[in-house]
């Protein structure tokens, strides 16, 4: 069964996804955090594998990545941790990170180990569409991994159509062209852009990310999309010191707001 497809077909109301960097704040907290997030009501997850030069990320995720690397996180260790993923977590899980660690691990090895762990999709922001189509799409398909593409306000309609045709999970709609961790300000322009995407009636569900940090921005995003992704705001919580696991239910409840399941 395709967990992502199932989620978007059966989910009533907006889906909430949470991003966190594997290996942060502690090397071995990955599955504890994932499990706590599911229990708290997150609908799907993005687990970031850290990279030394994350050019699409703002300071919060940069710092979490550096700390994770200092803690010794590698793709090899992450896949070892993920061996028990499906014993503890049932919601869809994406892996998110930059292309160079994937290349060094080997694309085939990466897809195989991700699939084996029960990962549903992969988000690699700096993997170009051309290279994906030519070199990687076959491997992704063989292992039934969804490749998630990003769309920004500057992405042309023609390119969005192409992305839609290559996607089989969801499309990651950036609230603005920015690095991660900026606050969403819904101006008329942003609203027009969200409306424009919605009116395109894409085949894939659309999930909005970048700048979603609280209930208000979550609600706003969900007027136009099937869900929203919170990253930096959650990573900040993880960095807030001991007891971060216990703070997760409250964090999720606040974002979703009462009455939303």
């Amino acid at each position: 069964m395709n967990r992502l497809k199932h989620l978007f077909e059966h989910k009533k109301g907006p889906a909430l996804s949470i991003y966190f960097t594997a290996g942060y704040p502690e090397l071995n907290a990955t599955l504890d955090i994932a499990e706590a997030l599911e229990k708290a009501g997150a609908d799907f997850l993005e687990i970031g594998f850290p990279y030394s030069d994350p050019v699409a990320d703002g300071p919060v995720i940069q710092e979490s990545s550096q700390k994770a690397l200092d803690n010794g996180m590698t793709l090899e260790i992450l896949f070892k941790q993920l061996k028990d993923l499906r014993k503890r977590v049932t919601i869809p899980v994406m892996l998110m990170g930059y292309v160079n660690p994937v290349l060094q691990y080997g694309v085939e090895n990466f897809c195989r180990d991700a699939a084996k762990a029960g990962v549903d999709g992969v988000i690699v922001p700096d993997l170009p569409m051309y290279e994906y189509e030519e070199l990687y799409s076959e491997c992704f398909a063989k292992h039934q991994l969804s490749n998630i593409f990003l769309v920004t306000p500057q992405t042309s309609e023609e390119r969005i159509r192409k992305i839609d045709s290559l996607s089989n999970g969801f499309i990651y709609l950036l609230s603005s062209s920015s690095t991660t961790g900026k606050n969403l300000s819904v101006s008329q322009n942003v609203e027009d852009y969200f409306k424009r995407i919605k009116s395109m009636n894409l085949d894939n569900p659309v999930v909005i990310g970048f700048g979603i940090s609280d209930h208000e921005s979550f609600q706003k995003a969900n007027q136009y999309a099937n869900g929203a992704i919170v990253g930096s705001a959650f990573v900040k919580l993880l960095g807030s010191g001991d007891g971060y696991l216990e703070k997760i239910p409250e964090f999720i409840r606040k974002i979703k707001g009462s009455g939303v399941s």
């Binding site: 990279y51 930059y98 160079n100 060094q104 691990y105 051309y130 920004t152 992405t155 920015s178």
Partner: protein, 393 residues
């Protein structure tokens, strides 16, 4: 074999445009337009005029007699150090700002290591009246203070890069982040032959003036357009690719690129990418870079801020893999000695970057009568503090 970029943006196995979607519209706009813009007659005319009257080109090809005597070969120095602002970087900065203008951009950003590219960019922004923001590693800001002051005088904002190793790599990351956050009105003037396609090709074309002039200058001086050896230092590789460009198809010209070995290639404190690196992706292109087995980029080291970069441009990776050029290295000590030697023999203080190329002369053996061209990519004024400290002057 072709040593140039193909229509997909690759040099053999290297190149491409590994960029997040946020950068795609800008890079794609550039890719679609750059050749048409730079091949346009009015562009060419204006570019040539600026190179002549503003930069002071052609830069001399100087027969270094005492250096030649010492090594037993006929050695010419391509004097990019005599350009306005003191290095080859201005060639590319002028070309790119003209491209940016024609794309209707109002704001210029750049990264810089030694500060030469930052100064060149700040200079052309002053010349054309465009806003300029330069990212520079916090460590480099300290070791290249005069260049920081020059940029500020020109009206540029210098932003310290405080992440990672706080040098050129991190300044490049910060510049890319700026570009992501300013997707419409900003052009990023990359200073080295790195970055996503079409940057490496565009930078190489603007720097190719170095070898274009060298050919006719050699013809005037020796009766022959080519040399036996052509040497240049390599960080990201912009002066080297400019120096090699018009010799690439003359297979009898031996091209030698000199990397910075820092304290020695095996010391753990080095920037010798072709020795220590593996294939991978950094700053938007597939190339060779210094990295851990897990694909994390390793912090390089060199006494020279301009060579302190963990990768090389994709065209260099191709020239290395295809063996068209040989990649060697010189340590801090070898470079510093070579810099002092040139000063004593010829009265020219070279940039420490360029001193790396000069240092390799020491390791070559000549039969006598060979013609050698060394790219003197920049002058050493900015490095005086380092020279003074190193030699206890």
């Amino acid at each position: 074999m072709s040593y140039h970029v193909n229509e997909k943006g690759y040099y053999g196995d290297f190149g491409g445009a590994y960029i997040p979607e946020m950068l795609y519209p800008n890079v794609e706009e550039l890719r679609r337009n750059y050749l048409q813009i730079i091949n346009d007659e009015s562009f060419k005319k204006e570019f040539e005029l600026l190179l002549k009257d503003y930069v002071g080109r052609p830069s001399p090809l100087y027969h270094a007699r005492r250096l030649s005597e010492r090594y037993g070969a006929t050695i010419y120095l391509k004097r990019e150090d005599l350009n306005h602002t003191g290095a080859h970087k201005i060639n590319n900065a002028i070309g790119q700002i003209m491209v940016a203008e024609r794309l209707g951009k109002k704001r210029i950003i750049a990264e810089t290591g030694a500060g030469q590219h930052g100064v060149a960019t700040a200079t052309v922004c002053a010349l054309r009246g465009l806003e300029c923001v330069v990212y520079m590693g916090e460590i480099d800001i300290k070791r290249q203070a005069p260049n920081v002051a020059r940029m500020k005088m020109m009206g540029a904002t210098v932003v310290p890069a405080t992440s990672g190793s706080k040098t050129l790599k991190d300044a490049t990351n910060e510049a890319m982040r700026d570009w992501i956050n300013n997707p419409v009105d900003t052009h990023y003037i990359i200073g080295s032959a790195v970055g996503p396609h079409p940057y490496p090709d565009m930078v190489a074309r603007f720097q190719s003036i170095i070898s274009e002039e060298t050919r006719w200058q050699l013809k005037e001086k020796t009766g022959k357009e080519t040399a036996d050896y052509v040497l240049a230092c390599v960080g990201g590789g912009s002066n080297a690719i400019g120096m090699f460009y018009h010799f690439l198809d003359d297979e009898d010209v031996k091209l030698i690129a000199v990397e910075a070995a820092g304290l020695g290639v095996d010391s753990g404190e080095s920037a010798a990418t072709t020795v220590l690196g593996k294939e991978g992706v950094l700053h938007g292109s597939r190339s060779i870079l210094m990295q851990t087995p897990d694909g994390q980029v390793v912090e390089p080291y060199s006494i020279s801020a301009g060579l302190d970069y963990p990768g090389i441009g994709p065209q260099h990776a191709h020239l290395f893999k295809s063996k068209r050029a040989s990649y060697v290295s010189a340590t801090d000590d070898e470079a510093m000695q070579a810099g002092l030697l040139l000063t004593r023999l010829e009265g020219i203080i070279p940039a420490i970057e360029s001193s790396h190329a000069l240092a390799h002369l020491e390791k070559m053996s000549f039969k006598g009568g060979e013609t050698v061209v060394v790219c003197l990519s920049g002058r050493g004024d900015k490095d005086l503090d380092t020279y003074i400290r190193y030699f206890g002057l």
